[in-house]
Symmetry: D2
Subunit: 445 residues, 4 copies
Amino acid sequence: MSRFSGPQDPAFQALNASVGFDRRLWPEDLAQSRAHARMLVARSIISAQDGEALQAGLDAVEAELRDGSFAFAPADEDIHMALERRLTEHAGPVGGRLHTARSRNDQVATDVALYAREAALAARAAVEALMAALLDAAERHLDWTLPGYTHLQRAQPVYLSHHLLAYVWMLERDRTRLQAARDSASVLPLGAGALAGVNFEIDRAMVAAELGFGAIAPNSIDAVSNRDFVLDLLHAAAVCSTHLSRLGAELVLWSSQEFGFVELPDSWTSGSSIMPQKKNPDAAELLRAKAPRVVGHLGAVHGVLHGLPLTYNKDLQEDKEHLFDAVDTLALCLAAAAGMVAGARFDRERMAAAAADELIAATDLADLLVTRGTPFREAHGVVAGLVREALERGVPLADVAVGALGPEAADVLERSSWLESKVSEGGTALARVRDQLDRARALLG
Amino acid sequence: MSRFSGPQDPAFQALNASVGFDRRLWPEDLAQSRAHARMLVARSIISAQDGEALQAGLDAVEAELRDGSFAFAPADEDIHMALERRLTEHAGPVGGRLHTARSRNDQVATDVALYAREAALAARAAVEALMAALLDAAERHLDWTLPGYTHLQRAQPVYLSHHLLAYVWMLERDRTRLQAARDSASVLPLGAGALAGVNFEIDRAMVAAELGFGAIAPNSIDAVSNRDFVLDLLHAAAVCSTHLSRLGAELVLWSSQEFGFVELPDSWTSGSSIMPQKKNPDAAELLRAKAPRVVGHLGAVHGVLHGLPLTYNKDLQEDKEHLFDAVDTLALCLAAAAGMVAGARFDRERMAAAAADELIAATDLADLLVTRGTPFREAHGVVAGLVREALERGVPLADVAVGALGPEAADVLERSSWLESKVSEGGTALARVRDQLDRARALLG
Amino acid sequence: MSRFSGPQDPAFQALNASVGFDRRLWPEDLAQSRAHARMLVARSIISAQDGEALQAGLDAVEAELRDGSFAFAPADEDIHMALERRLTEHAGPVGGRLHTARSRNDQVATDVALYAREAALAARAAVEALMAALLDAAERHLDWTLPGYTHLQRAQPVYLSHHLLAYVWMLERDRTRLQAARDSASVLPLGAGALAGVNFEIDRAMVAAELGFGAIAPNSIDAVSNRDFVLDLLHAAAVCSTHLSRLGAELVLWSSQEFGFVELPDSWTSGSSIMPQKKNPDAAELLRAKAPRVVGHLGAVHGVLHGLPLTYNKDLQEDKEHLFDAVDTLALCLAAAAGMVAGARFDRERMAAAAADELIAATDLADLLVTRGTPFREAHGVVAGLVREALERGVPLADVAVGALGPEAADVLERSSWLESKVSEGGTALARVRDQLDRARALLG
Amino acid sequence: MSRFSGPQDPAFQALNASVGFDRRLWPEDLAQSRAHARMLVARSIISAQDGEALQAGLDAVEAELRDGSFAFAPADEDIHMALERRLTEHAGPVGGRLHTARSRNDQVATDVALYAREAALAARAAVEALMAALLDAAERHLDWTLPGYTHLQRAQPVYLSHHLLAYVWMLERDRTRLQAARDSASVLPLGAGALAGVNFEIDRAMVAAELGFGAIAPNSIDAVSNRDFVLDLLHAAAVCSTHLSRLGAELVLWSSQEFGFVELPDSWTSGSSIMPQKKNPDAAELLRAKAPRVVGHLGAVHGVLHGLPLTYNKDLQEDKEHLFDAVDTLALCLAAAAGMVAGARFDRERMAAAAADELIAATDLADLLVTRGTPFREAHGVVAGLVREALERGVPLADVAVGALGPEAADVLERSSWLESKVSEGGTALARVRDQLDRARALLG
C-alpha cells in the first residue's frame, strides 16, 4: 500500500533511479545494516531472534553480491531498496524490521561517509607509493645535473634529485589533505533519522564504534544535509590531480626530441596509427589532462549544494557519481605516475649539456660582486650589461666577464661550483638534498 | 612488427584505453569508414574490388554490432582499432587498406563531430517538444492569475500563461544555440591525416557530402586539434540545463505546502522510506541539481584544452566522456521537464488568493498619481508612505489610500484592472499574451 | 644597465604589471624585508650599518604608505619593485643591498603566504562571530517550533533552535578548514632564491620566527612553485560560502509572504525603484549569489596551475586577484549573515501553524505500530494507506487513524509529543538541543 | 518618504551597493534614458517641455561624467540611482518623471545588453586585428619549415605559414561566436517594467531603433530575468581565451633554449630580479594563464543563475563584474597576442634543423609501400620494424630502409618531398597554403 495511486513514468525512473551507480556502495550498506541491527537488539528495539534472522538474511544477500549472482530488479530504485527487498525475500517479513529507527536520509549519508573515509585512506596509500617511487628515483639520480627553469627559460642548474624531491613535498601535502578528508568523513550520520532524530533510544556510539567512526554527528538536521566530507575529499583529489598534471606536463616536455631528458618505458607509451616512428607519452599526457575533470567534479558538487535549503533534498543524490569518478581517476593517475617515474630512463648527458649553458651562472657572477661589496641591485645591472655585450658580440660570457671582473669570474662560470654553492636550507647543494632525502624517508616510516 | 620491444603495463592500458566509452561511436565510425573507402575507390587509390571487400567486411562488422554479438578483445584500445581488427578478421589483409590516407587523429575528430552534430539536432527536437508542452499548458491556463515575484516577494500579478511562456522564450534561445552547435560540428576533419594532410589526391568534398557535412576543415593542423564543436555543444547544453534548473526550482517551490500552486503527478514523484505522508518532487529537484554537472563538463573541456600545444595530443581523448554525459543528462532533463509540465495540476484558487494581495497594486497606485501629473519618483514616495502607514496601523492599504488619494484609488486596488493594464508589448495583458502564443506557435511550425 | 635594448610595449605593461592589485601586499612586503635585512646583518652578509640604513629607509617608506603619500611610478611593475625603488630613493645605493640572497620568486611567495595566513585567521574570527550570533538566536528561540523540510515538503517538526544549530556545526567545520588553510600557509618560502637556494649561508629559521611561520619550506623548487596554500584557503572560503548560500536561500524563502516565517530588519533590506510596497531581502539573495564567485576563483587557480612545469612561471601571478576577491567576498558575506541572524524577527505563530500540519506526524504513527510489533516496512505501508484514504476522503488523518489504529493514534497525532520523542543523540528533543548548545558554547570558549 | 523606518546597516550597504563597479555603465544608462524620455514625449506620456528639460538635465550630467567632475554620493546605491539623483539636482522635480513606465529591473537589463552588444563588436574587431597579424606573419614565413608535433613528438614537417594559419581558423570561429553573442544581446528588455509590462502605451520599437537593438524582448518576465546574452558573450570570450592560451603555450615553448624557434621582442618580455641573463616570455605566459579566469567567470554566472526562480532577483547583480573582467581580460590578451605575433623573430635554421629529422618521414615511407600495393596497416608494420632496427643499431633510418625497400626509399626520406606531397585540401603543400591565405584574406575583406 502506498499513498500513490498511479505508477511512475519510465522517464521519471530513468532520471530518478540511482541503482546504476550507487550499487557499488553495497559493502558499506551491508556493514551499516549489520551494525544497525546489532544495536537495535542491544537496545531491545527488536528481539535477539529477529536480529539473528536479519544477520542471516544479510549473509545470504552478501553471498550473492560476492559471487555475482545478485539480481537487481527493475523496481530497485537504489542500492538501499535493492538490498532490503532481497533481504526480505530471504528472511521474510522480519526484513521489514531493519529500517526501524532509520531513514534513507541518514542511511545514504552514512554509506557515502564510509566510502569517502576508506577512499581517502586508499588514496593516501597510493600517494605514499608514488612518494616512494620518487624517492628511489631521486637516490638513483642524486648528483645528475639539469637546468632548473623559470618561465621555461634555463635559470640555474639543479640536481635531478632535488627536482624530483619537489614533487615529494607536494605529495606530502596531499597526504595531509587526504588525512583531513578522512577525518571529515569520520563522523557518523546514522541516527539522525529523516532529519529530526528518531523515536527510539538508540545507541549511536555503539554503531560508530563498530563502523570505525571517530565521532557522532551532533545535529540531526546537519547530519542528513551535510556533504562537506565529499567536498573535502574532492578538494584533496583535485589538488593532487593538479600536482600530477604538472608532473605529466614535465614528462611530456622532457620526452620531446628538443629536450631529450627522459625516455619513458615502452610499457607506458604507445605508437601511432599512421606514423611508424612515433613513441607517444600518452600516459603523461593523460596525467596532465585528468586534473580538469577532477576539478570539474569539485565545482559541480559545490553547484549542487549552492542555495539548497535544509534538510535533505534529492539534489544530494548528485554527490555520488562525482565522488566515485574522482576517486577512480585519482587512483589511475597515481598508479600511472608511479609506473612512469619508476621506469623513466633519464639521459644524463643531455641534461648535463643543457645545464652547462654558461649564461645560467650569471646570478653567481652578480653574487661575486656582492661579496666584493657592490650592492646586489647594482651588481645585477653590471652583469646584465655583460650578458648583453656577450650576446651582441656573439662571444661566450666568460670572454667578456673575465675582462671586466677579473679571473675569478672564470672560476664562477665553471660549472661544478654553481650547484654546490646553494647551501641554504632547502637548496640544491648535495648536502642539503641528502637532508631532504632523510626527512622524506622518515615521513614514510 | 612494431617499434616497441616491451608490452604495455596493465595500469597503462587501464588509463589509456578509451574503448570502454568510445564504443558508442561505432555507428559514426562505420559510416565514416564506408564513405572513406568509397572515396578511395573513386580516386583509384584502392581498387574497386578492394572497395567491395571492405564494404562487405564492414557489413559483417555492423551486423555483429547491431545484434550484440560483437566481441571486444582485451587489446582493443579504442573503437577505431576494434573495428579495424574485426574488419580484417572478416575481410582478410585487404582490411589493412582502409586506413590508407587516414590517421586516427582525423578519424576520431570526424567521429566526434558526427556525433555532436546529430546530438545537437536530437537535443533541439527535445527542446521543441518541451516548448510544445509549455505552449499547451499556457493555453490551458490562459487567464489563471498568480503573483509575479521579484526577490521572491510578491510584486505584480501575472497570468500563469505569461509565466509559462517566459520559459518558451528561453528555450527558443536554446534552439538557436543548438543550431549554432550543429553548424559548428558540420565541418569535416577527415583528410587532415595525422596533422599535415595526406600524400594522396583524395576527394574530401565527396566524403563530406556523403556524411552530410556542410564544409571541409580548411587547415589540417586545426582540423585535428580543434574541439570547438564540443565546447559549443556543451555551452548550448549548459545554458539549457541552467534554464531547466530554474524551472525545476520553481516546481519544487510551488509544490511546497506553503505555496501550494501545483501538484505534480504521482507518475513524476516519489515517497519517503520513513515518512508515509510524503510526496516528493524528486524529478523537479534533479532538474535543479543537474545543471552544475553539465556546467562542470564545459569547464573541464576548457581545462583540457588550456595551454595545449598544437596539434593532436592525447589529452583530447578527454573530450568524449564529458560530451556523452552532457548529452545524456540534457536528454533526461528535457524529457522530465516535458512530463512534469504536461502532468502538473495547478491550483487556481491558491494562486488567485496569493495574487489578490492588495499590496501588489501599489505600483498601479503610483501610476495613478503620474496620470494626475505627479512625477513618478514623487508618486512612488507618496505611495510608499501610505504602505508604511497601513502596515503600522494594521489596516488594508485601501483604507489609507482612499482617504489620501480619493475614491479612484479603490478602483485601482481592485484586482481585475491590475493585469489588463499591462498593455505594453510583451506585457501580461491577455491580448499581449495571445500575441505571444501566436508567435511561439509559428516558431514551432 | 639591462640586457634589453628596447623599451617595453605599453600594451605589454598593461598586461604584465601587477602593482594595480598587489599593492595591498605592502604590509607583508615591508615586514618580510625588515626580517630579511635583520637576518643579513645577523649572518654578516651585510654590515650592521647597512642594516640600520635599510631599516630607516623602510621606516620612511612605511610612513608614506600609512599616510597615503606614497606615489607609485609608472614603471613600478609590482609592489616589490615599487618599494625597493622608493627605499633606494630614501636610503641611497644601500637600498640595492636588500635584494641580496633573495629573488622576487621567493619574495612574492612569502608575501602571499603571509597574507593568506592572516586572512585565514581573520576569516576564522568572522566565522566565530557568526556562530555566536546563531547561538544567541538559538537560545532566544529555544522551543519555537517549525516544520523541518525534506524535498521542501513538510516532513517532521523541529525547534527553530535545532535548525539554527545545524548552521553552527557547518561553521564549526569551516573553522577547522580555515585552521588547516592557516597551517598550510605557515611554511616560509623565503630563502629559496630564484629556485635553487642562494649562495649565502642565510638563517631561514630566524626569518621564520620573526615572521611567525611555523616551518621552513624544505625544497627550494617547491617553495617558489607551490601555491597549495592559496588553494587551501580558497577551498575553505568556497565551502563556507556554499554554506552561507544555503542560509541565504532559506532567509529568502522564509521571508516570502507564503512562508512568512521571518522578517528581516529594515537595515538589511531595500526597496524597489518602481513598487512602493516592496521590502526585498537583497542581502540574503547576495549571500546565495556569492558562492559561485568564490568557487569560480578556486577553479580558476586550479586552472592556472594545471600542467604548469616547475619552477616559477609568470602564470603564478594569477593567484592574487582570485585570492583577494575570495577573502573580501567571504568577509562581506559573514558580516551580512551575522547582521541578518541578529536582526531577524521570527514569526512564532506562522511557524507553529505550519508545524501543526497533522500529516507530518505520520512517521510517528508508523512507529506506534512498530512498538506494537509490526515490522517497520509494513507499518509504513499501513500508514501510507491511511494517508491516501484521508486525502481522498478529504478528512483529517486522525479521523481515519483512530478508527484503524485505536485511540492511541489520536495521542500520537497530537503535536507536543512529536518533537519531544526525538530523543536520540543529536535529535530535536529539547534536552538534546540543550546538549548541543552547551557543546557549541564550549567550542567558542 | 519610504516604507522603511530604519536606516541601512553600513555592512549591508557594502555588500549591496553596486556603484563601485556598475558606474562604467554610465554611457549606456544615459543613452537609454535619452531614448526613453524621447519615447515618453512621442507617446504623450510626458509633455514635450518636460522632455526637453530631461534632455538638458542629461546633457549636464553627461558633461560632468565626461570631464570627471561627477561626484558620487555615499547614498548612491547604483549608477541608475546616481544619475537620476544628479539629474534631479540639475533639472528639478521633473527629473522624477524619467522613471515613468520604467523599472530598474528592465533598466539594468537594458544597460547590460547594450554593453554586451558593443563589447562583442569590439572584441570581434580585436580578433580581426590578430587574424591580420597572423596572416602577415604567415606570408612572411610562407615556406619556412618546422616539425608539426603530435603528443609533442616530432611527427611530420609543415610550413610555419600553415601552422600560423591554424590559429587564423580558430579565430574565425571566435568571430562567429562573438557575432552570435552580439545578436543574443540585441534584444531590447526595456518596456518590461518590473516584470509584468507597464501601465502605459509605450513604443518599444522606437526605443529599440534609437538604441540599435534588432528586436524587442517578447515576454516581460523573461526580459527581466534573462542573462543569456551574458553567458553567450562569456562563452565566446572563454573559447577565444582558451585558443589564446594555446598560442601562449606554444610561444613559451618555442622561446625555450631547447626549442629555440622564436625570440620574442624585448618590448614584450621582461628580466629577472635576480638572474641578469634572463629574458622571460611573461606576456606569453599570461596569455596561457588568463583562460581559466575567463572560464571561471562563465562558470560563476551559470552558478548565479542556477535554480533561480523567476523573475528578477538581486542575485542577477552578480552578472556585471564577471562580464566586465572577462571583456577587459580578453582585450588585453588579444592585444598582447597581436603584438607578440607581429614582433616575433623566428629562427629559420633552428626550425629547419628540427624538421630535417629523418624519422619524421616514416609515414611517407609506409605510403611508398602502399603505392606498391601493400595494405597500409602492413606497410606501417614494416616501417615500424625498420625504425626499431635503426634505433637499436644506432644508424640512420635511410641505411636500413634502402637495403630493405630499394633506392626509392632514399628519395622519400629526402626532405623537400615530404611537405609538397601533402596535396590534399587543407594540407601543408605550398599551393594549398596559398589557397588558405587567399580564403582568409577574403574573410577579412
